[in-house]
């Protein structure tokens, strides 16, 4: 039985320009949640905005029953969410989606995030750590302010490297260039990534060159988030299909997909 209902807001604080961290008390979520999953959030009880908003789980505190969501204010829904005070309740549905899976035998991995795409990677990084998988975490962003959740990653005690478009933090340039350096110098077994589509696409091409497979977490506009409406589809390679691909649902077949299977439209 999936959860859908009100969760108490423990805190909801600004963590960067247009970036917020909301902590919800929701044992129903933590009971089932795993890294890479998301929740579908209703930002108010009105019909404007009508739809829920999908947001990844950024922290899952199994002990306290709290989850946190790290989000960027980009439009009306996230704007309204940022105004919800501590003590209020927010209607959330979840946990949703498949989440990341850690393939058997993987020993050294690269975790690559871009911008707010860093958000779902934190619980993964923690789980990798717990399982003793060696990892390097690469986080990118437009500027130092947009390398979302940096402190959280650092506090896990893993190697974190950064890149920003303007060089205001770490390497100046794209995080995919950092990744390529690592593929050359210190080849990992596998990678996990989340971020803007151009970043993911570039990363997959590069990784492929080095023969490294991995997983990526995708975004699409959603209606139901439970697989019923077919709004959130993306193209995934399917051998049995004549076109070589079929539409899969980001909400239930994803959001995490095998990197090699994703078909990017231009």
């Amino acid at each position: 039985m999936s959860f859908s209902g009100l969760s108490k807001v423990i805190s909801n604080e600004k963590t960067g320009p247009q970036q917020f961290l909301i902590v919800l008390h929701s044992p129903e979520l933590t009971k089932q949640a795993k890294p890479g999953q998301f929740v579908h959030v209703r930002v108010n009880g009105l019909s404007d905005p009508l739809l829920r908003r999908p947001i990844s789980l950024h922290e899952i505190d199994y002990a306290s029953g709290n989850v946190s969501l790290l989000y960027q204010v980009v439009g009306k829904g996230t704007e309204l969410l940022s105004g919800v005070p501590a003590g209020a309740e927010v209607d959330v549905m979840g946990p949703l989606g498949n989440g990341f899976w850690i393939p058997e035998g993987v020993k050294r991995v690269l975790v690559v995030g871009g911008g707010i795409g860093n958000a779902p990677l934190l619980p993964l990084v923690k789980e990798l750590k717990d399982r003793g998988v060696e990892q390097t975490v690469l986080l990118g962003g437009r500027t130092v302010d947009y390398v979302a959740g940096l402190e959280g990653f650092k506090s896990v005690g893993v190697t974190v490297e950064t890149a920003t478009d303007d060089g205001s933090l770490g390497r100046k340039g794209f995080v995919t260039q950092l990744a390529e350096d690592i593929f050359t110098l210190d080849k990992p077994d596998y990678f996990f990534a989340c971020g803007p589509e151009p970043m993911l696409k570039q990363l997959i091409i590069t990784a492929d060159k080095y023969g490294i497979s991995g997983q990526v977490s995708l975004e699409e506009r959603m209606g139901c988030a439970v697989g019923a409406c077919l709004a959130c589809v993306c193209k995934i390679k399917v051998k049995t299909d004549e076109a070589g691909w079929d539409y899969k649902k980001v909400c239930v077949d994803g959001p995490v997909f095998e990197a090699s299977e994703v078909v990017f439209d231009v």
Binding site: S47, L50, M93, R221, C224, V226, A228, C232, V252
Partner: protein
């Protein structure tokens, strides 16, 4: 205990609450949130003869109190449906209404034939109103003759209760309703989505992959209620009312306008328990006002 049972053109339903096609998948999607046995019926996603991939993305856009969708009837085809989806649905004590679409009258004939032979289909909802497919779809639903042609053929191939689903994108909904009833429809479903679109002003191009899409959600409710009101008074067949039902009050509005049953669509996305909340609220309303039989409320705003 008051009576909630209704008869939708020959389909007996234990209560008037069902799901709008395309918003509830094939059943299992919402099973983690509600008990499917509690529904009056389940209307499944639009099914076609052959499997379809549907339209390019983005397929959904939010608008004020509404959404535009251009799914484009993505579905695995009727044979897959019969083999894989029906067996799951048959486990429930809830009739299944299969929503069907075709590119041609022949398509409708063949899909009807196959579904009528399958076990576990309670009724057919004939979609002659989909705004999101190039051929057929809405074209059938916006002309009286074309609409009647489709219904007449489907009628030939089935003895199942036959529900004609009408397009609201017409000048005169009553005319179309009368035409399909004459052609053999046992009941009418209205409304499908209003044809709409939205443009990204920064990219200067339409938001949706298919340019236009179907508008659903509370924004369209006044139009839907009006059409149910008009058709119910002109046609002597039961109506499955839908269009922006978010809660029990909205559902009761449709019933008072003349709908015998109601379908919850877009609301499922907002509240996965919407169907159950609607059912519960209808019961409370009946209790509050001492209504013993839901059928007494049908059309009560004009009767």
């Amino acid at each position: 205990m008051s009576n909630l049972e209704i008869n939708l053109g020959g389909l007996k339903m234990k209560n008037p609450v069902t799901t709008a096609s395309g918003t509830f998948g094939f059943g299992p999607e919402y099973a983690p949130y509600i008990d499917l046995n509690q529904l009056g019926a389940i209307v499944v996603k639009g099914t076609t003869l052959e499997p379809r991939k549907g339209n390019a993305t983005p397929r959904i856009a939010e608008t004020p109190s509404g959404i535009l969708n251009c799914i484009g009837l993505q579905n695995p085809g009727v044979d897959y449906f019969i083999e894989k989806s029906l067996p799951y649905l048959k486990e429930y004590d809830t009739p299944v209404i299969v929503n069907i679409s075709g590119n041609s009258v022949e398509d409708y004939a063949e899909i009807t034939r196959r579904l009528s032979q399958a076990d576990g289909v309670g009724a057919l909802e004939v979609n002659i109103s989909c705004p999101n497919v190039k051929q057929g779809g809405m074209v059938f639903g916006t002309s009286c003759t074309a609409a009647a042609d489709v219904i007449r053929v489907v009628r030939e191939y089935t003895t199942l209760p036959l529900i004609a689903k009408l397009s609201p994108n017409v000048t005169n909904i009553v005319e179309i309703a009368q035409a399909v009833v004459e052609a053999g429809a046992d009941a009418l479903a209205l409304i499908n989505t209003l044809l709409g679109m939205t443009i990204d002003i920064h990219k200067r191009k339409p938001v949706l992959g298919n340019i236009m899409g179907g508008l659903s959600g509370p924004a369209i409710r006044p139009v839907a209620v009006r059409m149910v009101w008009q058709v119910a008074q002109a046609v002597d067949k039961p109506i499955l009312g839908m269009g922006g039902i978010m809660n029990a009050d909205d559902a009761i509005e449709f019933i008072l306008a003349g709908a015998t049953a109601v379908a919850v669509g877009t609301a499922n996305f907002v509240n996965p328990r919407a169907t159950m909340d609607v059912l519960e609220g209808i019961k409370q309303y009946m209790e509050k006002y001492g209504v013993n039989d839901i059928n007494d409320l049908v059309g009560a705003a004009w009767k």
